[in-house]
C-alpha cells in the first residue's frame, strides 16, 4: 500500500460536454474511480459545448496533446470515425490493456450507431438518449385535455397545442430543443425514411441528402403555420428551448430524454412523458426513434505510454460497470447503455415504479425497427445540422417556404458532404 501511494498517479484527462445534474454526476464518477484505485487520477472537465470542445480537442491534437478521452455527441461521430489517425477504437483500447471487452454487451442501437460492420466498437456509448415528448400535466388540465392521454400523432399534437392556446392554458403550445436532431433525424427514423443515400451515409462518403420530400415539407410547414399563434413557438438551437417548458410558458416540449433531470429539478408542475408523435398516414409508422446522446472517444497521441492506455481502459471499464450505468440512467433520464445494466434496472423494478421512465426504451428499443432507424453516419454533420437550423429558422421567420428551406438545406448540405468526401479521399 505504502509504495503504491508514493508513486505519482498517472493523470488521465477526460473532457466532457455535459453540465448540470448530468455533468455533476459524470464528474463524480471520475472521483469514485480515483478513490477506487491509486494508480491513476482521472480529471473530468467541462470544456464548453460539444462543438467548442471538439475544436479545442482538435487544436490540442494538432499540438500533440489531446485529452485521453473525449465525450462527443452523436452528430460529431461521422467526423470522428473518419479521423482514423486521431482516434483509437475502444475495442482496441481494451484489447491493448488486456481487459476483456465484448461489444455485444452494449444495447443494439448503440452498437449499431458507434460500431463497425465487423462488430468492433469505435467509441464507447455512454450517455444514450432518444427524443421524447415531455408535457405539463397541469397545463393539460387547464386546457381541458386529459393529462393521461398525451398526443400520439401529429394531428393530435397539433390539436392539443391549438387547444392549449385557445384556452390560454399556456403562452405556447409546444416547443422543441435540438431542432435538427428531433425534427430531421428522429422524425425521419420515426417514419423510417432515409435522410441521405447510401444507407444514411453508412455506405460511404458519396452519400447525398434526400430530405426535400412531401413528408418533411409537411412537418416543417406545420411548424411554420403554428408559429404565429404560438401553438408552436421556436425556442432556439440546442437545448435553449427547454427553459420555456420549465418556466411553464410552453405546455409541451420535444426533448432528449437526457433533459429529464433538469426539468425535474426546476419545473413546478406535474410532468408527463410520452413518445415522439408521428404522422399516422405514413405506412408502418410509428417506427423506433434513433439513438442520441454521446459516446466516449479515445485519442491517439505520439507520446501515449502503455501505462496511460491501461488507465484509459480501466476508467472506461469502470464507467460501463453495472453500478455506474444504473446510477447514471436512474438519475439522469439517459438510457442504460449496456444490456446487463438494463436488465438489472428491470429486475429492480425501476421502470414499473417510475411511470414514464420506460418511454425512451419503448421508443428506442421496443418500437418497430426499420431499415432507417439505425442512425446515420455523415461527415461535417455538426455544420449540416446548423445549415438545417439556419434554413428552417428562415422559414419560421416567414422568409421562405418549407420546400424552399429544405431545398436550400439539401443544396448547402450536399456541398458540405462533397467537401468532406474530398477531404477523406
Amino acid at each position: 500500500q505504502a509504495p503504491a501511494a508514493a508513486q505519482p498517479r498517472t493523470e488521465i484527462q477526460m473532457w466532457m460536454g455535459l453540465t448540470g445534474v448530468n455533468g455533476e454526476l459524470l464528474s463524480r464518477f471520475g472521483e469514485d474511480f480515483n478513490r477506487s484505485q491509486n494508480e491513476y487520477r482521472v480529471v473530468v472537465s467541462f470544456r464548453g459545448q460539444y462543438p467548442e470542445q471538439r475544436a479545442a480537442a482538435m487544436a490540442a491534437f494538432r499540438a500533440g496533446n489531446p485529452p485521453h478521452i473525449m465525450q462527443m455527441f452523436d452528430a460529431g461521430s461521422g467526423d470522428m470515425i473518419q479521423s482514423r489517425g486521431a482516434i483509437i477504437p475502444v475495442s482496441q483500447v481494451f484489447q491493448r490493456a488486456g481487459i476483456a471487452f465484448n461489444p455485444a454487451d452494449f444495447i443494439a442501437p448503440a452498437r449499431g450507431y458507434y460500431g463497425l460492420p465487423n462488430g468492433e466498437l469505435l467509441s464507447m456509448p455512454f450517455n444514450v438518449s432518444t427524443a421524447v415528448l415531455f408535457y405539463n400535466r397541469d397545463a393539460f388540465t387547464r386546457a381541458g385535455l386529459d393529462p393521461n392521454r398525451p398526443p400520439r400523432t401529429w394531428p393530435e399534437m397539433i390539436a392539443a397545442a391549438k387547444q392549449i392556446r385557445e384556452r390560454n392554458a399556456a403562452e405556447c403550445g409546444f416547443t422543441t430543443t435540438w431542432l435538427a436532431w428531433i425534427m430531421l433525424e428522429q422524425f425521419n427514423a420515426r417514419h423510417n425514411q432515409q435522410i441521405g443515400t447510401l444507407d444514411n451515409g453508412r455506405g460511404g462518403a458519396a452519400s447525398e441528402l434526400t430530405v426535400n420530400n412531401a413528408l418533411n415539407q409537411r412537418m416543417v410547414q406545420t411548424l411554420i403555420d403554428l408559429q404565429p399563434t404560438r401553438a408552436f413557438s421556436y425556442g432556439g438551437r440546442s437545448n435553449d428551448a427547454a427553459a420555456k417548458f420549465i418556466s411553464g410558458q410552453c405546455a409541451m416540449l420535444l426533448q432528449s430524454s437526457g433533459g429529464l433531470a433538469a426539468i425535474q429539478r426546476d419545473g413546478r408542475f406535474a410532468l408527463g412523458t410520452a413518445q415522439l408523435p408521428h404522422w399516422p398516414d405514413v405506412q408502418g409508422a410509428p417506427f423506433a426513434t434513433t439513438i442520441g446522446g454521446a459516446s466516449l472517444w479515445v485519442f491517439n497521441a505520439p507520446n501515449r505510454t502503455p501505462q496511460e492506455m491501461r488507465g484509459i481502459a480501466m476508467f472506461l471499464d469502470f464507467l460501463r460497470s453495472d453500478r455506474v450505468m444504473t446510477e447514471w440512467a436512474r438519475t439522469t433520464g439517459f438510457l442504460p447503455a449496456t444490456n446487463s445494466s438494463f436488465r438489472a434496472m428491470q429486475q429492480a423494478g425501476f421502470f414499473t415504479q417510475n411511470p414514464g421512465r420506460d418511454v425512451p426504451i419503448l421508443s428506442l428499443i421496443e418500437a418497430r425497427q426499420g431499415q432507417f432507424t439505425q442512425g446515420y453516419r455523415f461527415g461535417r454533420w455538426t455544420e449540416i445540422r446548423d445549415i438545417y437550423h439556419e434554413e428552417v429558422e428562415r422559414a419560421l421567420q416567414g422568409r421562405q417556404t418549407a420546400a424552399q428551406a429544405l431545398r436550400n438545406f439539401e443544396r448547402r448540405g450536399n456541398a458540405q458532404l462533397r467537401a468532406f468526401e474530398r477531404s477523406v479521399n
Binding site: 453540465t19 448540470g20 472537465s45 467541462f46 440546442s238 437545448n239 426533448q255 433538469a262
Partner: protein, 286 residues
C-alpha cells in the same frame, strides 16, 4: 455662478436628467443581475422573476464562492477562478508594462541600426486581432510545453503594442533638457531610466496598469482554448461555460452571482484608479 448659457438653471436640470437616464441604463442590467443573484433558480425559471431581491443571496454567493457550481464539477469555486483571473490579469498588466517600458525607452532614447524596423515590428502587433491567429498560436504554446500554465495563458497576450506606443509618446514629451541635465550630472542611460524616467512615468504606468488589468481580466477566447485544467479556469470563461449548455438548464441565480463577482475586481480597479485611468486612456489613444 458662471453666466455662460450652458450653466443656466434649466440647462443644469436638463443635464442632470440626461445623466440620470444614462446611469439608469448603465445600472439596469447590473441591478437585475443583482436581484437574480439573490433568488432561487426556480424563482427565475418561473418568468417573470421578481424585481426585488430575494433571500437566497447569501446561499447563492456562498455556493459559488466556496463550492463552485454544481459541487465544483461544472466550474471550480469562484474564489479559485477569481484567483486565477487575478493572477492572469496581474501578470499580463505587469508583464506588458515592463516589457513595453524598456522597449519604448530603447526606441526613444537611443539611435541604432534597425530602430524603425523594430518599432514597426512591434507596431504591427496592434493591427491583428487574436481570432486571426489563435490556432497557430495555440500550437506554439503547446510546443513550448506551456499548456495549462499561467505562462501559456499570459505570455502570448503580452505581445501587444498599445503600451509601447503610449510610453513612447510620453517619453517623447520629456524635455530634452532633463536628459541633458542628467548627463551633466553624470547619469548614464540605466541610471537615468531608474532615477528619472521611471518615477516620472508613474502616472502613465498607473493608467496603463488599469487598462491592461481590465484587458487581461476580460480575456475570453484565449483562456477558453488554452486551459484544459479546470483549476486554471478564469472567471470570465467560467461564466460563459455556465450558460445554455447541454441538457441542463442554466442556473441563472448562480450565474448572476458569479457574474457580479467577476466584474467586481476590474470595476474596482477602474474606480479606485479612476484619476489615472481616464488620463491614461485618453493619452494612450491620442
Amino acid at each position: 455662478m458662471n453666466n455662460s448659457p450652458s450653466h443656466s438653471l434649466p440647462g443644469q436640470a436638463l443635464a442632470h436628467a440626461v445623466i440620470w437616464i444614462g446611469i439608469a441604463i448603465t445600472a439596469l442590467p447590473l441591478y437585475i443581475a443583482f436581484v437574480a443573484s439573490t433568488l432561487s433558480n426556480p424563482d427565475i425559471a418561473q418568468a417573470p422573476m421578481p424585481l426585488w431581491p430575494g433571500d437566497q443571496g447569501w446561499e447563492n454567493y456562498r455556493t459559488v464562492i466556496i463550492e463552485g457550481m454544481q459541487g465544483g464539477h461544472l466550474s471550480p469555486p469562484v474564489w479559485l477562478m477569481l484567483f486565477n483571473s487575478l493572477i492572469m490579469a496581474l501578470v499580463i498588466a505587469v508583464g506588458k508594462i515592463s516589457v513595453s517600458i524598456i522597449s519604448a525607452y530603447a526606441v526613444v532614447f537611443f539611435r541604432f541600426p534597425g530602430r524603425m524596423f523594430c518599432f514597426w515590428l512591434i507596431f504591427i502587433t496592434l493591427m491583428l486581432p487574436v481570432e486571426v491567429r489563435i490556432l497557430p498560436t495555440y500550437e506554439v504554446v503547446t510546443d513550448l510545453g506551456l499548456l495549462n500554465t499561467f505562462a501559456g495563458l499570459t505570455l502570448p497576450l503580452i505581445a501587444s503594442a498599445t503600451a509601447t506606443l503610449l510610453l513612447r509618446q510620453f517619453f517623447l514629451t520629456l524635455p530634452d533638457e532633463l536628459v541633458e541635465a542628467a548627463k551633466m550630472d553624470g547619469a548614464g542611460p540605466l541610471r537615468f531610466f531608474w532615477d528619472v524616467v521611471l518615477p516620472l512615468t508613474r502616472t502613465q504606468l498607473a493608467a496603463l496598469f488599469v487598462i491592461m488589468f481590465v484587458y487581461g481580466w476580460n480575456q475570453y477566447l484565449w483562456p477558453l482554448l488554452i486551459v484544459t485544467d479546470q483549476n486554471l479556469d478564469t472567471i470570465v470563461v467560467g461564466i460563459a461555460k455556465l450558460i445554455g449548455t447541454g441538457d441542463a438548464t442554466t442556473d441563472w441565480n448562480l450565474v448572476m452571482a458569479t457574474t457580479l463577482l467577476a466584474l467586481l475586481p476590474p470595476a474596482l480597479v477602474v474606480l479606485l484608479m479612476q484619476k489615472w485611468f481616464v488620463k491614461g486612456l485618453v493619452d494612450s489613444e491620442k
